[in-house]
Amino acid sequence: MKKIVITILLICLVLSFVSMTCAAALKFAFMPGIADPFYFTMEKGAKAKAAELGVELIVGEYPKAWGPEYQVPILKALVARGDIDLLFTAPTSTEALIPVLKEIYDSGIPVITVDTYLGDGDYSKPSNYNFPLSYIGTDNFLGGQVVAGQLALLLGGKGKVFLENTNPDVSSVMDRELGFRAGLKIFPDMELVGVEYCLDVQETAVAQVSAALQKNPDLDGVFGVNVFSAQGAYQAVVSAGLEGGVKIATWDATETLIEALKRKELDLILAQMPGEMGSLCVEWGFKYLTEGAEIPRKVIPGFFVFTQENVNDPDSQKYIYK
């Protein structure tokens, strides 16, 4: 019995050495925030860049819901492999993930936060959350302002608009709301008549926007903050027969939304650049580990605004989430 145990242990030891020596390439781990097209596109962008640079990319299981209680166990299992050179992740809580990621960082794995951040996202000042190499992601507040401006432009600077949001406890969509509100203030004749939260349930979004249209028959525009609220919003407008009459602005360029834009059921799509974000994480991580390059503490890849005019341009196609 003892011999068997010792033999098994020896085999394990040898195998682990073999696997270590085989793994000459860098290993990056990506821990997404939730299973949705946005993070799938981010993974694709990261994978393409990793293949280009010869980096092995390990992707954590996609959490089924948003929140540290779903993400942290998967993250811990992912890092427990012990052979990871760098982690990039979208923390699902600005506070709860600080100690978890700090522990990973202290064990010698550099961390980049992507799309969402720790604390207030400013890693350049002294704080207990400034250990990540960089925050690579969208400025949601700025994006909200851009949408408000573009929607006002479509409506000639005058009109009543409604905001269909998802979860009141998620920093990214709340920043979009705050940015949208701030952006509207610039236009004295633009009025925000209501805000609803659909909790990512498309059927709920349809009901809420239908009610908003019923309450404000002279509504001119709706901003749906993500894929589910936007698709719900446009379905409600279509169902009321008001397509074209109510301008709809949305966030995230999924194929279904792009199709709707082509069919003139939508008017504006603000595309984040998730593929670009994933690609940047791998690229900067690679430069940091191989060349010791200094990484900017904050990288904002910017936005692309799809309209009915530019949606068919060949240059626009790469911004569609696939």
Partner: protein
């Protein structure tokens, strides 16, 4: 439950004789619904209008079906937690079939019909498995259907990869958003086909009469309400929920009957899934945050059923769903934030159970 309340605030025997209180206890949910409709008509802007009632009923169309299926299970003394995700699973599969057949060049009619029927058939499988686990292998319904809750969800997720399924034949949207009749002050009556209107005020003044999905739902509900209240199958369901030992002694094939019950529940969820494709013109998996199964259970209980089984009706459940939907819509039209609407639904649910406990004799004495 009743015995412990005999010496409490209420003298049940005395109240039992009062016809007014008896009527109130039996129909409180319906009366509450009527009061709410009146109240919201005064408080909410544009609440009392045909188009808003269409919004309400379309908003709860999925829940109407899910809750009615759940009613069968709850009356038989069980519970089905999987319905929300079975709906999502069917919604995703049937939309994928429609999309792929249409893309392969088949006619929209054939694609839509095949997708819908395949969805309905696939939707029966979770019910068969649930029923077999509960009836033959004696797995507690809570656990068996919790397992299916995860399986159906995972499958839907895997198949859709988190993306909504789009690119369906255009007719899907036209069918799902059509009404039996339209009346426009400008163009008069028309049936099934929406009149072409360009002016905003004409579009807004268009009266839309009875949405097509609601016609289908009513059809299904009438059949199953008849089965539950007028057939031997229905009586057996109540018998099993009331006292399972007595049902076995009476010669009812309880395991077979239970399998049928879970298949019915699953069938309702599948119907809801197919209707959702038509309604959204898209296939979407069910979100964790949607809690369809819990709202369905709430509606069944508000409608007069008891979680211990043996009590409840389809029409009571419909009232329960209408109550939840009207409350949500009315508070929304008043401009109340979503948080308060959750609190309101919670309060109504607790009131329902309290009435169930304090007035058992009134509510169920025929």
């Amino acid at each position: 439950m009743a015995e412990s309340n005999n010496d409490s605030l209420f003298n049940l025997n005395k109240i039992g004789e009062s016809k007014t209180l008896g009527f109130l206890g039996k129909n409180w949910a319906f009366l509450f619904l009527v009061i709410m409709l009146i109240l919201f008509s005064f408080l909410g802007k544009n609440f009392f209008s045909l188009n808003n009632f269409n919004n309400i009923i379309l908003g709860i169309s999925s829940l109407l079906l899910l809750a009615s299926g759940e009613a069968f299970v709850i009356i038989s003394g069980g519970i089905d937690l999987s319905i929300g995700f079975v709906m999502g699973f069917v919604c995703v599969t049937s939309s994928i079939i429609m999309r792929d057949l249409n893309a392969a060049g088949y006619s929209p009619f054939f694609s839509i019909l095949t997708g819908s029927l395949a969805g309905l058939l696939l939707g029966l499988i979770p019910g068969i498995i649930n029923g077999y686990l509960v009836a033959k292998l004696r797995v507690p319904p809570f656990i068996a259907t919790l397992g299916m809750w995860g399986i159906a969800n995972g499958l839907a997720w895997r198949l859709s990869e988190g993306f909504p399924i789009g690119f369906l034949p255009l007719q899907v949207r036209d069918i799902g958003n059509a009404y039996i009749a339209y009346f426009s002050p400008k163009k008069g009556f028309s049936f099934f086909i929406k009149p072409e209107l360009t002016e905003r005020k004409d579009i807004l003044s268009l009266l839309k009469i009875i949405p097509i999905p609601i016609l289908w739902i009513t059809f299904v509900l009438v059949i199953f309400a008849f089965i539950l209240s007028r057939t031997k199958f229905g009586q057996h369901t109540y018998a099993i929920g009331g006292k399972v030992d007595a049902a076995i002694r009476a010669g009812i094939n309880v395991p077979l009957h239970l399998i049928k019950i879970y298949v019915i529940s699953s069938f309702f969820a599948a119907t809801a899934g197919v209707l959702l494709v038509f309604k959204l013109n898209m296939g979407v998996h069910t979100q964790y945050t949607s809690s369809y199964e819990l709202f369905a259970i709430a509606a069944v209980v508000i409608g007069g059923a008891s979680l211990t089984g043996g009590k409840g009706t389809i029409w009571g459940t419909v009232i329960g769903v209408l109550l939840i939907g009207t409350l949500d819509n009315g508070l929304m039209m008043m401009g109340l934030p979503i948080f308060y609407r959750y609190i309101a639904t919670g309060c109504i649910l607790i009131i329902a159970v309290l009435i169930d406990q304090f007035f058992p004799e009134l509510v169920y004495k025929e």
